[in-house]
Symmetry: C2
C-alpha cells in the first residue's frame, strides 16, 4: 500500500555514466567532483529527482556520498550498508569506503595535488560540510570550487521532474497555535538574537511555522521549500506556485509573501547589500545561501535554526492530537498482534505478508476512527529471526523470510495521521521462545521501564538519560549500538531534532517534547529485540517527600508488550507494577475500539504478570 | 598540625591599596586592570606570594577575580563564597558579583568605552581567558593590554618571597616508570601530533614527567616550575636552582637541561624563530608563553597538555602504592571512627577538635606503617549538623560548632603519603538519627553502590555514569549540586583531570584511572550527607553469559560506612550483598593494623546488615 518491497537492482550501465561524468569534469577543468546523497533541502528523505548518488553509483541507501576523480572514485557508506553497497555498486568503478571512519575529506587528503580544482554543488552541501572539504583542499594547495550547475544534472537526461504535491493546511485546531502567533514568536527570537533575518532551509521547520503540510517526499509530510523570516516585516515563502491551490495561497498570503524558489538568491543578495545580520544554521543550510549573503556583504550569524526548539516543545493541542493518534494506532497494532498471535507460527507468513497486514490494520483503524492513515511514517522494519538482528533492516522480495516457530519477530513501524505521528516497535515470540531470548527481552524491558519511569531535574541531558536504558544490559555484559531515543514530530518527521537520548545527546529534554524510548538487544545471525514506545516529557512537578521538582515521562504508545517474553523473576516489584499498570492502561484505552477475537486477545495479552 | 583553622580576617586597610592601585593605573594610562586569583602556574593552590587577589580585596577564597576601573571595582566569586565575600570585602570598594553568571568579561561589556586600555598580567591568565576578554574589549573599541609588570607587585611592598621548598625524587619503585621512559613516551606523542615541542605549564604534569615532588604549595606536592618537551632532544626544566640539592640536580641533569625560570621566555623566542610547531594547552598555559612564541613566528598548535592522559592512566606500581596508602589511611580512619563512636555524642567535641584528632590518627598510622603522613591532601571539611550542608565548608575558630546528639557529622579528608593520595568522606550519626536522615543516607548509598558496581563499555563518558549516582535520589525528588566524582593523582593533586563523573564529564574513564565516588545529599540549615570512596577503573573484562567486555570499578578506600544510618528495607538484595561484602573486605584488610577497642569497633562496625 505505501511501502515498496522491490529488491534493490543494478539495472543501469553505471560505468557509462561515470565515463560521461569524467568527460564533463575534464571539459570543465575539474580534477574531481563530490556527490552527496542529500538534496537541496537536507532532509532525511529525498524525491526521485534528487537521487543523484543512486543514479551515478547504483547505491540506493538513505545516506552516503561519492567522490569522483579522474582515475579513481569512491562511494562512502555507513555500517548499515556495507553489504548492500557491494551488491549495488561495481567496485571496479567505485571503491566502497567507510563514511564515518574515512569520510570524503579524509579520503581526499592524500589524493590531492597543488592546483587541483575539486567541484561541488553548493546547493547540496551545508556550510559545515563545505568547510571540512575546503580545509583539506586548501592544505594541499588545491581549490574546492562551487559550481553553478551540477554536472550530474547536465548528463542525467531522463531525470524525473521535481515532486509537485499539493500543499494542505494544518488547521489551528490541530496545530494548537496559529501561523501568525508562531511567526510573532520567531520574530521575538530573532530580536533576542539581535539578527535582522533568518534563513529557514529545513522543510519541517517551514511546515511547522506556516502550519502547512505536503507530500513531496515519502513518509515526511513536508513541503519542499525555503523561507526567509524577518525580524520586522512579513516573511517570504519560496515555493513552487503549482503546489498551491487558490485557497491555500490566499491564506498564506495573509501573512507571507509567496515567491518562486528561484527568487531566493536575488532576495538574499538584496538582503546582504542592506548589511543585514542573518541567522544561518551551518549544519542544515545549503552553503550557497551563506555564500550569496557574504558575497553581498551581509553579516552571517551562525546558530541553530530558530524553529527547531519551539517546534520540538509541543503544545497541549498537539499532545492531545498525538495521544488520539496513538489510541487509534494502538487499536490497529492490537488487531495486528491478535492476527499474528493466531497465524504467526503457522509457517505460512513472511516478513512482507506480515508488514502488509499491519498496513491494512492501520488503514482500517484510521477509517473507523474518521482520521485516515495518510502515510506510514517510515519504511516498516519487519524482521523475522536473524533479520531482526539487523538494526535498519528493510525487507525486499529478495530477502523476504518466513516467520518460524522458536524465533522472534521484530516489527518497527509508524503512521502519519493528521493529528499525530506514531512510531512503535514490538518484538513477538513466534512459538516458544528460548530461556536466553526471555532473559535478553526482560533486560531490554528493564531499560525501557527505567527510562519510562525516570524522574530528573531540568537540564539533565539525553546522554545522561541514555544510561538508564542500558544499565541492566551493561551489568550482564550486553549492549546495543543505537541511541535509546529520538525526537518525533506531530504529523511531521518521525526523526525530529534537536534532542535525542543517546551518547551524543548533549541537549536536555524539555517539557512537551515527544521522544522515543527504544532500548534493544541484537544477536547477530540469531534474533533481534527492541521495545519502543513514544514518551512525552512532563513538566517539573514535586514528588511527595522530596524537595526538588522533577521532570518525567508520560508513555503515550498503547499496545501490549509480549508477556511470553518476560522472565518475571528478573523484574523488581516496582518494575512488575509498572508493567501491569501499563497493560491495564492499554486495555482500558483500546477495549472500546475492539471486538470479538481482537478484544479477547487484548484482554488476555494485558493480564497482570503474575496471573 | 597541617590545617590552619584561623578565621578569615579583614585586618588590612583595603581602601588604601585600591587607591594606590588606581593611582598606578592612571600613571600607566590604563582605564582598568584585571586581577585573577590564579598564579602563574594555574594550580588549585597558590603560595602566599601569589595571593594578589586577597591582598587587594581581602577575599581569601580559592577561586575568584577582581576588576578595577577608575570609578568602580568588582570582586567575582562563585556560589560557595557569596556569604564569605561580604564578610571579607568592603562592598563600598568592591561590588560582589557572580563569577559564573556574570564573569568579568560579561561585567565589563557595558562599562567599556572606545579607546579604553584595560591591563592584565599575561603570566596569570590563560590564552582562553585572555581571548574572552579581548573579544569584549575589541567589540567596544577598547584594548586589552598585556603588561610587562604586574601593577599589584609594584605597590605590594611587603609581598612574601616565592616558596623555595626542596625538590625530592619520586623513586621508580613508587612511580612505576622511569622519567626517561615517560619522556620517550611523551616524545612519541609529540611525533604523533606532528609538533616539534610542547610547553608544560601545569606543575603536576611536570612532577609526573620528571618523577619529582615538592612542597611549594599546600596539599599538592608539586614543584612550581615550567618545562619544555622537545620531540627530538633533551627537555628543559625551568626551576629555581635553590630548590635543587646536588644529588637531585645531578639526577635530573642526566635527562634534562636545568635552567632558571627567567630563561624560559628567551628559549621560547628562539624556538619560535626556528619556526617550530609548539603544542600549547590554551586552558592552562599562561597567555604570555603563547604570545611570545607567536611574536617570534613560532607555530602555535592548540591542544590538551600531552601529560594529562598518560598521568591519569596509572600503572600497576602506582595502583599498588595507592592501595597500600588506602590500607594505612583506613587504619587511621577506623581508629578515628572508633574514637568518635565513643566520644562524639558527649557534647564536648567540636568540628576543629575532631578534625585535629583525625590528623593525629593519620600521623600515627603513617608512623606505625613506616610511611609518614607528609601532608593532608586538602583542607579537611569537618561539618557538624547544619555545617555539613555547606558543600565546601571549611571550619574556622569563628564558625567552630559542637557535635550534638541527634545530628549528623560529615568529614571529608585525605592524606598525602609517598605511595599515594587519599580522599574519603564519611557521614556519622551522632546519637540517634531521624528516620529522614536514614532515608536520605540510604538513597545516597544506593547511588554510591550503583556507581561502585557499574559495568560499562569503553567510551562511556563521566556524564553518562553520573546518572547512576543520582537515580535513586531523583526518583524521590532529591539531588545534590556537585559532581559524583573527580580524578585523583598518586602522591599528587587530589583533584586531577581530565576525567570527572559529572554532568560536564565529556571524557570516558579509562583503565587505571583513580576517581572518587561521592554522591551526597544536603538539607540547608539541617544536615549534610556524603559517602566517598576512591575507585579504580578496571580493564575491559568479559561477564559470564554476556557477549561484550565491560569496564568497571574497584573500590580502594577502606573504612566502615555507618550502619546506623542505613535503612536496610530500602536496599535491594544485591545492594545489601555489596554492603556486606565491602565491610567484610574492610575488616579483613584493616584488622591486622588495629588492636583493643579499635579492633572491637572495626568488628562491630563491619557486621553484616541483617546481623
Amino acid at each position: 500500500m505505501f511501502q515498496n518491497f522491490d529488491a534493490p537492482s543494478r539495472a543501469h550501465p553505471i560505468t557509462d555514466r561515470l565515463v560521461a561524468l569524467r568527460a564533463h569534469l575534464a571539459r570543465a577543468g575539474l580534477a574531481g567532483f563530490v556527490v552527496p546523497h542529500a538534496d537541496e533541502y537536507q532532509g532525511e528523505y529525498i524525491p526521485a529527482s534528487a537521487e543523484r548518488l543512486a543514479w551515478l553509483t547504483g547505491f540506493t541507501g538513505s545516506a552516503g556520498a561519492a567522490v569522483v576523480l579522474a582515475k579513481e572514485a569512491a562511494v562512502f557508506v555507513d555500517g548499515r550498508y556495507t553489504l548492500q553497497v557491494r551488491d549495488q555498486v561495481d567496485v571496479a568503478d567505485f571503491t566502497p569506503e567507510d563514511l564515518i571512519a574515512a569520510p570524503p575529506h579524509t579520503w581526499l587528503k592524500g589524493r590531492l595535488k597543488a592546483g587541483d580544482r575539486i567541484g561541488y554543488d553548493p546547493r547540496l552541501m551545508t556550510l559545515a560540510e563545505v568547510r571540512r572539504l575546503e580545509t583539506v583542499c586548501n592544505a594541499a594547495g588545491a581549490a574546492f570550487v562551487a559550481l553553478d550547475e551540477n554536472p550530474i544534472d547536465a548528463i542525467w537526461h531522463d531525470r524525473p521532474a521535481a515532486p509537485l504535491f499539493q500543499v494542505m493546511q494544518q488547521p489551528d485546531e490541530l496545530a494548537g497555535e496559529s501561523a501568525d502567533a508562531k511567526i510573532a514568536r520567531l520574530q521575538a527570537i530573532l530580536a533576542d538574537k539581535d539578527v535582522d533575518a533568518a534563513i529557514l532551509a529545513q522543510s519541517d521547520s517551514i511546515a511547522w511555522t506556516f502550519n502547512i503540510r505536503g507530500a513531496d517526499v515519502p513518509h515526511n509530510p513536508v513541503v519542499l521549500s525555503y523561507a526567509l523570516l524577518r525580524r520586522d516585516g512579513r516573511p517570504t515563502l519560496y515555493v513552487d506556485g503549482r503546489k498551491l491551490s487558490n485557497s491555500i495561497r490566499d491564506d498564506l498570503a495573509k501573512r507571507a509573501d509567496i515567491k518562486e524558489e528561484r527568487a531566493f538568491l536575488a532576495d538574499l543578495t538584496a538582503l546582504g547589500k542592506s548589511g543585514a545580520k542573518v541567522l544561518v544554521d551551518p549544519q542544515t543550510t545549503p552553503a550557497l545561501f551563506a555564500q550569496t549573503l557574504v558575497a553581498a556583504n551581509g553579516v552571517l550569524v551562525e546558530g541553530a535554526d530558530p524553529v527547531v526548539l519551539p517546534k520540538a516543545r509541543k503544545n497541549a493541542v498537539e499532545l492531545d492530537g498525538t495521544r488520539r493518534a496513538h489510541r487509534r494506532d494502538g487499536v490497529a497494532m492490537t488487531r495486528f498482534l491478535a492476527w499474528l498471535d493466531a497465524n504467526g507460527a503457522k509457517g505460512t507468513e513472511t516478513e512482507i505478508s506480515v508488514a502488509k497486514k499491519l498496513e491494512t490494520c492501520r488503514a482500517e483503524a484510521g477509517e473507523a476512527d474518521g482520521s485516515p492513515l495518510l502515510e506510514i511514517s517510515f519504511d516498516t522494519i519487519s524482521g523475522a529471526g536473524s533479520d531482526g538482528a539487523i538494526v535498519h533492516y528493510r525487507v525486499t522480495e529478495a530477502t523476504d523470510r518466513k516467520l518460524e516457530p522458536g524465533t522472534l519477530y521484530l516489527v518497527d513501524s509508524g503512521a502519519q495521521y493528521r493529528d499525530g505521528t506514531t512510531d512503535i516497535t514490538r518484538t513477538i515470540a513466534i512459538g516458544k521462545p528460548s530461556a536466553e531470548m526471555r532473559d535478553r527481552f526482560t533486560r531490554v524491558l528493564k531499560g525501557h521501564i527505567a527510562l519510562a519511569t525516570a524522574r530528573f531535574p531540568r537540564g539533565t541531558t539525553g546522554a545522561q538519560l541514555d544510561t538508564l536504558a542500558r544499565h541492566a544490559l551493561w551489568q550482564a555484559g550486553l549492549d546495543f549500538d543505537h541511541g535509546a531515543g529520538h525526537g518525533v514530530g506531530v504529523f511531521l518527521s518521525v526523526h525530529e531534532g534537536p534532542v535525542r537520548i543517546s551518547k551524543a545527546g548533549h541537549l536536555p529534554p524539555e517539557p512537551g517534547m515527544i521522544l522515543s524510548n527504544e532500548p534493544g538487544y541484537y544477536k547477530t545471525g540469531a534474533y533481534g529485540i527492541r521495545i519502543e514506545n513514544l514518551i512525552v516529557v512532563t513538566p517539573p512537578a514535586p514528588i511527595e517527600g522530596g524537595d526538588r521538582e522533577m521532570l518525567g515521562f508520560e508513555t503515550i504508545t498503547l499496545a501490549p508488550i509480549d508477556r511470553n517474553l518476560i522472565d518475571t523473576a528478573l523484574l523488581t516489584p516496582a518494575e512488575r507494577a509498572w508493567m501491569d499498570a501499563y497493560h491495564a492502561r492499554v486495555r482500558e484505552a483500546l477495549a472500546p475500539g475492539l471486538q470479538g477475537v481482537d478484544l479477547q486477545f487484548l484482554i488476555q495479552a494485558t493480564q497482570p504478570l503474575d496471573a
